[in-house]
């Protein structure tokens, strides 16, 4: 049987681009192999997947060199529609990946395009829906679905034809940790039971390395590493620390080898020696756990501790106060149910919870985009950065979006003549944040899923920026699924469940004891530390004591 995917010296340059997006790629993926693509933003992961789907160069144009075969079909002689018969593709943005009116029609569409009869289509739809756990959605309209549901439906449409190879570009970016884990479980099952080769581009490597047979790391469009997961982690430790998983970083900082591929792996390795004591007071609950934190923890507002109920900053009036806030859709469900929440000036608060728990709605109510149906919201201006930073740019030139001094303060002066759409994800987010912060200093800076699709280097920069804002007196509230980011940025974490806080406590307490809402380091060390730097210190301490 031919390779699921074969690239021979593939080079590609987008139309009008100066540098090639792919450079001399040689890669072969065997049938049934599970390959993770790693790399920073702009490293070429998405372009490689688009090339494998035949979109490059047929759809995007540009200059293509070399030879690429997907499922045995040469992309130079077969167009993307022909390649679709052997390769299922899923992109990042689920909104543009659903083209039919109902979920059932969406799943049926690829099969109908292959000319299958109605019985075969109906059977394929049912099986795909069951396999992906979306049977309950089959008769729903696609425009009613949430981002997470859309992503699963789009994945279903990509896999319904049982392709030889699945090309997936950050399929978990819209999902909460629970749904993300479920989806990876489904992928693994399809990989094992159907023999579908999976090529998965992902930033949060700790989620998927344990399922992978192999990791291919890209840098500036070229393959920098092609090894099994452990070999990749060893390479990353030496050459690309930004690609290390938290577990691998923990081991590297503690001077232990080899790096663990999974939590189970790490725990087994630690069990061989002395495990660190679960030190409840080991971390200062008022501080972020460190790690991604580039400096100290300036401006942390003191806060009372307690797992449940209302919490207040001490002293001055809160920057934001929600009292018994409800938000109920007309003729629909209640999204927020009597939320009480005070946030002090300079405090850094994370909102976590499953998809649909009410995080985004809470931010929108706080910012005045939605009026609460009951209860009160008090406080100063809330500068809210919504999920898509591109929504804040309306003009054709970066320099026209902001006054020169604000642009300079955001470190974006050199991009003044660029079109906002031509900026990288990180630059676009910095620009959007600068636009939101422009004018009167906000009492609260709120961000909705700011790390979606963001690599570690950009996260570090964002943590630094938020720390500076908090230091300057603004409260920072971040809604996110990213536990590592929360551990680095937040002093306090509010876990929402079914529209109300089910836990409200220092981040070190909330993330240390969680199952899904926990960092990888916390899961390895049983909650003794949240981030690799603190965990490594504990491990080194243990080693000295021993």
């Amino acid at each position: 049987m031919s390779a699921a995917l074969r690239l021979e010296d593939v080079t590609y340059r987008y139309p009008g681009a100066v540098a090639p997006a792919l450079r001399g790629i040689d890669l072969e993926v065997a049938p049934g192999e599970f390959v993770v693509l790693a790399g920073g933003t702009g490293s070429g992961k998405s372009t490689l997947l688009r090339a494998a789907a035949g979109l490059v160069p047929h759809f995007h144009g540009g200059e293509f060199g070399g030879r690429l075969e997907a499922g045995g079909l040469d992309t130079r002689t077969h167009d993307p529609a022909a390649i679709a018969a052997v390769a299922g593709t899923l992109f990042q943005d689920p909104e543009t990946q659903v083209v039919m009116g109902t979920v059932r029609a969406e799943l049926a569409f690829p099969l109908e395009n292959r000319g299958l009869g109605s019985a075969a289509v109906a059977r394929g739809v049912e099986e795909a829906a069951l396999a992906l756990g979306i049977a309950a959605l089959l008769d729903r309209s696609t425009h009613e679905l949430s981002g997470g549901e859309l992503q699963r439906v789009a994945l279903g449409a990509a896999l319904v034809g049982r392709p030889r190879v699945a090309l997936l570009d950050e399929p978990t970016s819209q999902l909460d940790p629970v749904a993300g884990d479920e989806l990876l479980g489904v992928l693994r099952r399809l990989n094992e039971e159907w023999g579908t080769a999976v090529i998965l581009a992902e930033h949060r490597l700790e989620r998927c390395l344990s399922a992978a047979d192999r990791v291919v790391a890209l840098r500036e469009g070229a393959i920098a590493c092609d090894a099994d997961p452990r070999g990749f982690l060893v390479w990353a430790g030496d050459h690309a620390p930004e690609l290390q998983t938290p577990g691998a970083r923990l081991f590297a900082l503690a001077g232990r080898t080899p790096p663990p591929v999974s939590v189970k792996d790490a725990r087994r390795a630690l069990a061989a020696g002395d495990e660190p004591r679960a030190v409840a007071g080991g971390l200062d609950p008022r501080k972020p756990a460190g790690g991604l934190e580039p400096g100290g923890e300036p401006g942390d507002a003191p806060a009372k501790r307690g797992l449940f109920g209302r919490r207040r900053g001490e002293g001055a009036a809160p920057a934001l106060a929600l009292s018994s806030v409800w938000f109920e859709h007309k003729g629909g469900a209640a999204v927020l149910r009597g939320v009480d929440l005070d946030v002090a000036a300079g405090e850094r608060v994370a909102l976590m919870g499953r998809n649909g728990a009410g995080k985004s709605t809470l931010l929108r109510v706080a910012a005045g985009l939605l009026a609460p149906t009951r209860g009160k919201v008090r406080g100063g201006r809330v500068a809210l950065l919504l999920q898509n930073p591109g929504d804040y740019t309306l003009r054709d030139r970066v320099g026209d979006e902001l006054p020169p001094e604000s642009l300079a303060a955001a470190g974006l002066s050199h991009l003044a003549d660029r079109h906002p759409r031509d900026l990288s994800g990180g630059e676009r987010q910095r620009l959007a944040l600068a636009i939101v912060l422009n004018g009167e200093r906000p009492a609260v800076v709120a961000l909705d899923e700011p790390t979606r699709g963001m690599d570690r280097a950009h996260k570090v920069a964002l943590v630094a920026l938020l720390a500076r804002l908090a230091h300057d007196g603004s409260a920072v509230v971040v809604a996110t699924h990213d536990a590592e980011f929360v551990a680095a940025v937040a002093t306090r974490t509010v876990l929402l469940g079914d529209g109300r806080p089910v836990a409200d406590a220092p981040t070190s307490e909330v993330l240390a004891g969680g199952w899904y809402f926990a960092t990888q380091t916390a899961r390895i060390l049983g909650g003794a530390a949240l981030l690799p730097e603190d965990g490594a210190a504990l491990l080194r301490q243990e080693a000295v004591v021993a």
């Binding site: 035949g54 292959r114 000319g115 109605s118 500068a383 929504d391 804040y392 636009i435």
Partner: protein, 288 residues
């Protein structure tokens, strides 16, 4: 404007028939100039939308279209020089010459506006009550690419509507005055190409370009609603043909306005409304 399945006879009808019924209604409106008939057709469309449980959405479309209709009504008297009754002399404009506004041209402008509203109402009803996925399947054998392109155009509309909502929300998050609506509209319009490219890329990787015809199979049997709306469409077309043949609803805009209202016109209006609305009376089997 997006389709959502409702419990109504029109939604329960197969897409090809429901689509044909809406199109016949629009063609009937195009074939008549008589304001009474057009008014009756507009009332019929609104009543049909109510019976199909999409009245609010069609009403919103009509309200949005109202300025467009008014514009048509206002432009006609300014550009048409026919009619005997001059009601305003606006002087001489270079190139255009003397601008005399006549009562006939003004009245006919109103007729054109009314007709535009009926047609927009018909297509709003079509968007809200005809399943585009079923329509795509129905026309796959006839012209797959045309049907798919049309269906996809309707897909892009909700994507762009969501974009506009998000951009508007983002503007509300800023200090000071939010950007004017036209700036948001411009940003959505300029981003439409990117979005269209994204949707088109998805189509490609779902095998659209390689679309093969499915094997011919026995279709599903015609339901009572399929038959009722097909009969209604045929009856509407026959009534319109008969009315034109019998010179009923005669209308003249120029040189003097003549739109006689008699028993024939009233009977025609009643017949059109009854034929169009009768299929909505049968509420059996309208659920999913």
């Amino acid at each position: 404007m997006t389709y959502a399945r409702r419990a109504s006879p029109l939604h329960a009808t197969r897409a090809a028939v429901a689509s044909a019924w809406c199109i016949v209604l629009a063609i009937v409106a195009l074939s008549f100039d008589h304001p009474l008939v057009l008014g009756a057709l507009l009332a019929t469309v609104v009543a049909a939308a109510g019976a199909a449980r999409v009245g609010r959405r069609v009403a919103v479309s009509l309200l949005v279209a109202l300025p467009f209709a008014v514009l048509i009504g206002l432009v006609n008297p300014l550009v048409v020089r026919e009619g005997l009754t001059v009601i305003a002399r606006l002087g001489t404009v270079p190139v255009f010459g003397a601008l005399d506004v006549t009562a006939e041209a003004t009245a006919y402008g109103g007729v054109l506006a009314l007709r535009a509203l009926v047609i927009i109402g018909c297509f709003a009803l079509h968007s809200a009550a005809v399943d585009p996925d079923d329509l795509l399947r129905a026309f796959r054998r006839v012209s797959f690419r045309s049907a798919l392109t049309a269906a996809l155009a309707t897909r892009l509309v909700p994507v762009l509507a969501r974009d506009a909502r998000r951009l508007h929300d983002a503007q509300r998050c800023l200090a000071g005055e939010p950007a004017p609506r036209r700036a948001v509209f411009r940003a959505v319009a300029s981003g439409a190409l990117d979005r269209a490219v994204d949707v088109a890329a998805t189509l490609e990787v779902r095998g659209y370009g390689a679309a093969r015809r499915p094997p011919r199979e026995g279709g599903r049997p015609w339901s009572r609603h399929d038959l009722a709306f097909a009969a209604s469409a045929a009856a509407l077309a026959l009534i319109a043909v008969a009315a034109h043949a019998g010179d009923a609803a005669a209308f003249e805009a120029y040189p003097s306005f003549a739109a006689p209202v008699g028993a024939g016109e009233l009977a025609l209006c009643a017949a059109l409304a009854a034929c169009a609305l009768l299929p909505f009376a049968d509420r059996r089997g309208i659920g999913r």
